[in-house]
Structure formats: C-alpha cells, structure tokens
Amino acid sequence: MGVSDRTVLEVYRYLPENQTEPTFQTYEIDSQDNWVVLDALNHIKAEIDSTLSFRWSCRMGVCGSCGMMVNGEPKLTCETFIRDYDTMTVRIEPLNHFPVIRDLVINMDDFMEKLPTVSPWLIPDQDKPLDEGEYLQTPGQVARYKRFSMCINCMLCYSACPVYGLDSSFTGPAALALAERYNLDSRDHGRKERAATVTAHEGIWECTYVGECTQVCPKDVDPAGAIQMLKLSYALDWAKSVVMPKRGRS
C-alpha cells in the first residue's frame, strides 16, 4: 500500500455555458495503490482543477451517487480501484443513456419520475394499528424479497441497458426490481395495483432480456431476474383471469 503510480486520466468535460460538444481532458497524476477512481477525481479537484464536476458522498458504496463510465463500463467510482486497470490511461465519462448536465453529472429526473409510478411502498391488506405490533415475517419470508430491496438507485443498470438507451420510455431495471421487491413481500398486497404500470407497454414487456443490468449491478440486485419473475407472475395472473374470469387474485 501507499505505492504511487503514474496514471493518466482522460476525463469527459462538458460545460453547457461554453461548449456545444464535449471534450476530453487529460490529467496526469501520481495515484496511490489503494486509490479508487473517485480518490483520483478528488485529487484532481483539490490539487489540479477545481472546476471538474461530479457527484459523490459516502465513498463506501451505499449512497449511489458516484456512478460513471470507467473505460466504457458503468461503475461505482468509490468501489473501483485504479490498480485493477492495467492500461496506463483510464477514461472517465458520465453514465451512458442519460442527458449530461455538466462534466460527469447526469440528469436522472426520468428515473425519479418513474419511481413513484410503480408504487414502491408497502400496500397492506388493511392498515394495522401500531398497538397490534409488527407483521410477523419469518427469515425465509424476508429472504424472498431481500435481494431486490438492496438497490441503491445508482443508475448503472440503466446505463447498461440498450433497451433504455434506444427508448427512454422503458420503466427500466431498478424501478421494476422495486416493484417485484414489494410484490414478493409477505406483508404486501399491492400486486394488482402495480399491474397497470408494470405490465404496460413501457413496463416488463419492453425488456428483451439482454441481462447486462444484472451484470453491472454493484449490489447484486439482479434486476433482470426480477423482471423475468414479474413477467411470469403477471402472465400467470392473466392466464388465470382468462380461465377463471370471476375469481381473479387479489
């Protein structure tokens, strides 16, 4: 540890007030062996060029703000070590498929607007008063949905998804995974309520199962899996409603 190494960072720059096209700026730095990409960016910001703009906060992989393209792959920069790249030059760009506000800062309004449409909150059968205590849920029942509840909204999956890149009306991996997170929760009865958005044209059926969202997800959420599970469960719901039109699941 502590060994320094000459690294060249090629960083995407865009300032709308002065530019119409992005440029790449090259910074040569002495990077430490234990540095993540974010450390290098912070070093540049503090020592070389304070105008470089990017988002970050927790620097421990949990707040979800530091996603960028590193050598063409979407990464959380606070978890991505420079030493893992054997190229001399590391190229840093804003996440793909999002409008760029400035430098490495993307606009994620689209996701923030989509999120509420999948009703990502618990919809119980009926409201239970607090003095009746907690809903019982075994560790096994927690395990059923736990994985899909680990999403940090980092947007890496959206920038890996060509379907979203081609058509941004697609609800997308993280939002759909959250829908399945609540659908699978034994306390929740909102599956029907979520059907409208989830099974709409822009919802699960737009997914052609490229599977890259799951590959790039830094928190092992498996959004691709969640979407396939949604397809199956809503297809079964539909089949049941055709066979037994009266009963329909609640």
């Binding site: 540890m1 304070s50 970050w56 906060s57 421990m60 999120l115 907690e134």
Partner: protein
C-alpha cells in the same frame, strides 16, 4: 420536480431529506392534511448520510426490557449531560417509531418465529437494537423515501442548497437556496422551517461521515442568532478502517467481535471495562463490559494503548485489531455481511480468516442547534431535529443505535410542532422573499464569485481547518492545544474572506457548494474549539488532560455558543434532571 413560480411558499419547509427530514415530511403530510410541505435537500434524498448507518436503532421491545432501563443506559452513557425529560420522550416513542417503519415495509431482521430480532450494542444493558442485517440506515432511509413518494403534499427540491435563513419581524420565514443544477438563487417562503441537515464530521480530517456532512444547518441557525449547544462533545468511534475512515459497525462487537493490541491482548480489560470472558463462554459478549463498553471509553483506551506502544504501525496510521473470526463464515454472512464486504474491498482482508485493522475515527456530533423538547429553537418559526439538533438525548456521549431512533422520534415531533406553529402565523410577503434572494445573490457575487485573482483555495483552507481541529480538539485536549486551535480558526476565517473561486459558472458548480460548506465548517469549528476551551472538566467524550475529573458543581450544564463579532460568546444552561441523579458511570459488571 419543482415548477418554477414567482414565489415558492409552503406552510412547513423541511431542510434536509435524511432520516429526520423524511420522517418529518411524512408526519406533516399524513397527520396534517391540507398542510403544504416543502422538502429541500442538497443531494437526492436517498444519498443522505443516514444511508450509511449500519448497526441498528434502539427501542425496547422484549418483555424482559424496560423503558426505564433504556433511559438509564442513555443517561449514564451521556455522563449525565442528557436532559432526562428528552430521554424519556425518546425511549417512550422509540418502539412505536420502529413499528411504524415495520408497517411501512422496512426489512428488519427476524427471529425464526417471525418477530423482529434485536442485538446487543455498546453501553446497553440488554439486547434492544433493531437491525436490518448491517445496512440498517440504508433500509431505513429507503423505506422512508419510498413511503414519502406516496404523499402528493410533499414537494421536493432535490439538489437545492440552502445558503441562509430568512428572518424578519423576529421570526424565521423561509430560506434562500441555490438550485444547484441551474445556479439560480431563489427564496422559498415558509411559516415554519425545520432544519434536519445532519452532522458535521467533515470538520475533522478522518471521519466516517460522507462528503455532505459539513454542518450547514448548524451554521444557518448559528448565524441567525440561535445558540449551538454542547459542541465540544465530538464522538470518536473506536473502529474505523485505516486510510478511508469507513466504519466497521459496533454490531461486529455486539455479535461477539473482540479488540486486540499488538501483543494479542484484549486490552480493554486494563481500562476499567471489566474482565474478558472466554470467546466460547455462552455469556460472551457480556453487555456493558469490555468491547460493549461506551464509545468514548473505548476510543480513549486506543489512544492510551498507542502511547504505550501497543498498537500496530501501518501505512495509514496506527491500528489495533478487531477479531470476528470465531463467529464463522455463516454467522458473519448472515448478521454482518457488510463488515466483510467493506473489509475485503477496502483493506484487502477477509475477516473470516484474518482480524480487521481498525482505529479511532470521528463519527458523530453530540452537540448541535439548541432546541427544546418539541424541537423548537429560540427563534420563533425555526425548528430542528436529527443530528444537527441537540435536544439533548446524547449529552457528553451518544450510545450507539440511539441516533437512528432519535432522528425518527424527534423528526416526527418537530414536524408536528412546526405544523402547529404554521397554523398560527401568516405567510411571508412576496416583497420579503424577493429582497432576500436578491441580497443573498449579491452577497455571493461580491465574495466567492467576484472576478478577482484567487488568493486562497477552498481545499487549502479546508484541510488546514481539519488539521487544526484534530490537533487541538481531538480525543484528548488541553488549554494549550485548544487555544492554538481557536487562534488558527480565527486566521482561517480571515483567509476565507480572500477566497475566490476558479469556477464561476452557474451550471452545477460544485466548487461553489464546497466553498459554501467550508463557510459552515469554519463556523462550527469555531464553536467546537471555543466551547471545549471553556469547559474546564472532563466528561464523556470531552477529555481535558489539564482537568481530568468531572466537575458536577461547575459543569453539570449545557454549553451554549452564540455567534458574535470576533470570538463566540459561551453561556450555560442547566441540565434537566428528573429521576436519575448524577452518579458514577460503571462499566465492567461491578
């Protein structure tokens, strides 16, 4: 997203969308229909630092536990500086807040029978810490955020940075904020403002706190004439990873992890924290002893060990070892998976096979904006809750897992008080709002954004401030170190006047945000150093080597730092004692 209007107005405006702010917003939206709520945050809500909390949140749930025990542990942990009426409010409301989160979908870890699990935590007599593996804060924050999406009454201003409070006619009537994306400066009017802006650990160089924890809200209140209370009490956590300062949660010790010095000895036994039990003993880890002692005592023990040469030397500073190997891979992966994830990633050590290097690290501010038990400050219309506030339930040392509870209980409580206040007053005039934004805009243009040669850099001043506090107001301090810190901060404030930014663009100007944050950090740094200098006793996390004893006749009091020309004025007010007269803090089972 916000529609731009000529004037933005709300009944209740909440600054900060971490655990406290979101809980407050939901409280108003759900329980006071018809009240309009604004929720401003300098980052998207789910980026707030509550997200990083790992270990859990305390609330009495088991039949063998009692509210009085939780209260007593908190008060003893605080070295009797907590206000006991506030502590009673905390412990009484804690179980309902935890249940409420459960009803909103929080994935609490469960026992086999389906009930919520609780784990032991430092300084707590019984298992009463609710947890969601070791990502409790993450789940808590996302549950609150997602639940808040349900309420149309909550209007969010994401990535807006509040630069000042609007005070007129003796009351707070809103805030001025920059929309970071466009650089536009706007007033947002409100009948009540609730500050939920979190802590300020970033004033120190080595901290578990994220980049956004710069004490902005404390500084906003301080500049508006509201005192900052008990700022000298800064919590160092005993187990941070060297280099990054990333936290290894106390839950690692709650589940049985032990601390070892370079002789392989469980050194805490030498610091009045009881005798170690064998790791195989069914009673290990024994509550309130050894590794489950309070944080102030554990961090102080680390420094003493270092002085005695019994710590390891590493490239990123001295460290001791946290050993959890005896838990085994399965338990580690079930109960504290993130500990493993973080250790493997950031120090290249798999705790299943090797002990984790750890050292003390700045973690939490016990002090903050002085509020009463309803969350009201001395400025009418201004409320505060969460880590930025000081009610005070944490006194001179916070017990782990009380903070997540505090942000929920007092977040909701301050919101209710703010909504009540909003019903009694009239909204601010458009004229006032227009003028406030205008004058704040020109203040920035004549200072940070003036087109001038750069004399000083934000980053230079910031690291000098951090070093001044670490050297002068660290775990152990004395008159000389504190006086040095005070005078350094004075000169840093002068240097700040000469600060000119390189980046003068409007779009997403992060240098401007950092510079504004630095302004806040200087203010709270000043309050910390001066309050610490004035308190000539040792209590909890405030250890004066020149005044090593607790002095109840002189200092069973909260300090209040008021901003004034030059140095802050330090005043005091009494601690509220209800049922637990000051006593000795006993850890170690005697």
């Amino acid at each position: 997203m916000v529609e731009k209007m000529d004037s933005l107005q709300h009944d209740v405006l909440i600054v900060g969308a971490g655990g406290a702010g979101l809980r407050a917003a939901i409280a108003v939206a759900r329980d006071h229909p018809g009240t309009s709520v604004g929720l401003i945050s300098k980052v998207y809500p789910m980026r707030s630092h509550t997200v990083s909390a790992e270990g859990g949140a305390a609330a009495v749930i088991s039949a063998s536990d009692s509210l009085d025990d939780h209260a007593y542990d908190t008060i003893a942990g605080s070295d009797w500086l907590a206000d006991q009426d506030a502590v009673e409010v905390l412990v009484e409301n804690a179980p309902d807040e935890m249940l409420q989160l459960e009803h909103w979908g929080c994935p609490w870890s469960r026992d086999a029978d389906g009930h919520v699990s609780v784990r032991p935590f430092g300084g707590m007599k019984l298992e009463r810490t609710w947890y969601a593996a070791d990502k409790t804060g993450f789940h808590l924050l996302h549950t609150l955020f997602q639940t808040a999406l349900k309420f149309d009454a909550i209007i969010r201003y994401d990535e807006w940075f509040v630069t000042s409070l609007i005070v007129a006619d003796g009351r707070c009537q809103g805030v001025v904020a920059i929309d970071i994306r466009t650089g536009e400066m706007l007033s947002i009017g409100a009948k009540s403002v609730v500050l939920c802006t979190g802590g300020g650990g970033r004033v120190y160089p080595f901290t578990t706190n994220g980049n956004i924890k710069t004490g902005d809200g404390m500084a906003l209140a301080y500049r508006a004439g509201v005192p900052l209370k008990d700022m000298e009490f800064v919590q160092y956590h005993p187990t941070g990873l060297p280099g990054t300062g990333i936290l290894i949660t106390e839950a690692a010790r709650g589940e049985g992890g032990v601390l070892l010095n370079n002789e392989g000895r469980r050194y805490l036994q030498d610091y009045g924290l009881g005798q170690p039990l064998d790791l195989k003993d069914p009673d290990h880890p024994r509550k309130q002893t050894m590794e489950l002692g309070p944080r102030d005592r554990l961090s102080q023990a680390f420094i003493k060990e270092r002085e005695a040469g019994r710590t390891f030397e590493g490239a990123d500073g001295d460290y001791v070892e946290l050993d959890i190997r005896h838990l085994g891979e399965r338990e580690i992966d079930r109960k504290i998976p993130m500990v493993r994830e973080l250790a493997v990633r950031y120090v290249g050590i798999d705790p299943v096979h090797d002990p984790i290097p750890v050292r003390t690290v700045v973690h939490y501010m016990m002090g903050g904006i002085d509020t009463d038990i309803q969350g009201a400050t001395s400025l009418p219309g201004l409320f505060a809750a969460g880590e930025c506030a000081c009610v005070s339930v944490n006194g001179a040392n916070r017990l782990g897992s009380n903070s997540l509870t505090e942000i929920l209980v007092f977040g909701a409580r301050a919101a209710v008080a703010a909504a009540d206040h909003a019903r009694r007053v009239s909204p601010p005039s458009n004229q006032l709002l227009e003028n406030s934004a205008g004058s704040e805009q020109s203040r920035l243009e004549t200072t940070l954004l003036r087109k001038d040669a750069t004399y000083e850099t934000t980053f230079g001043i910031r690291s000098d401030l951090q070093d001044a506090l670490e050297e002068g107001a660290g775990i152990f301090r004395d008159k000389t170190t504190l006086e040095r810190a005070c005078s350094k901060i004075t000169s840093l404030k002068e240097r700040y006047e000469n600060l000119v930014l390189t980046d003068t663009s409007r779009t997403f100007n992060t240098e401007l945000v950092t510079a504004l944050e630095l302004g806040a950090m200087l203010d709270i740094g000043e309050a910390i150093a001066h309050s610490a200098l004035a308190r000539t006793e040792s209590r909890g996390s405030h250890q004066r080597t020149d005044h090593p004893d607790r002095d109840d006749p002189g200092f069973l009091k909260h300090s209040l730092a008021y901003r004034s020309e030059g140095n802050p004025t330090i005043d005091y007010k009494n601690v509220t004692i209800t049922r637990w007269p000051p006593g000795e803090r006993v850890y170690g089972g005697e």
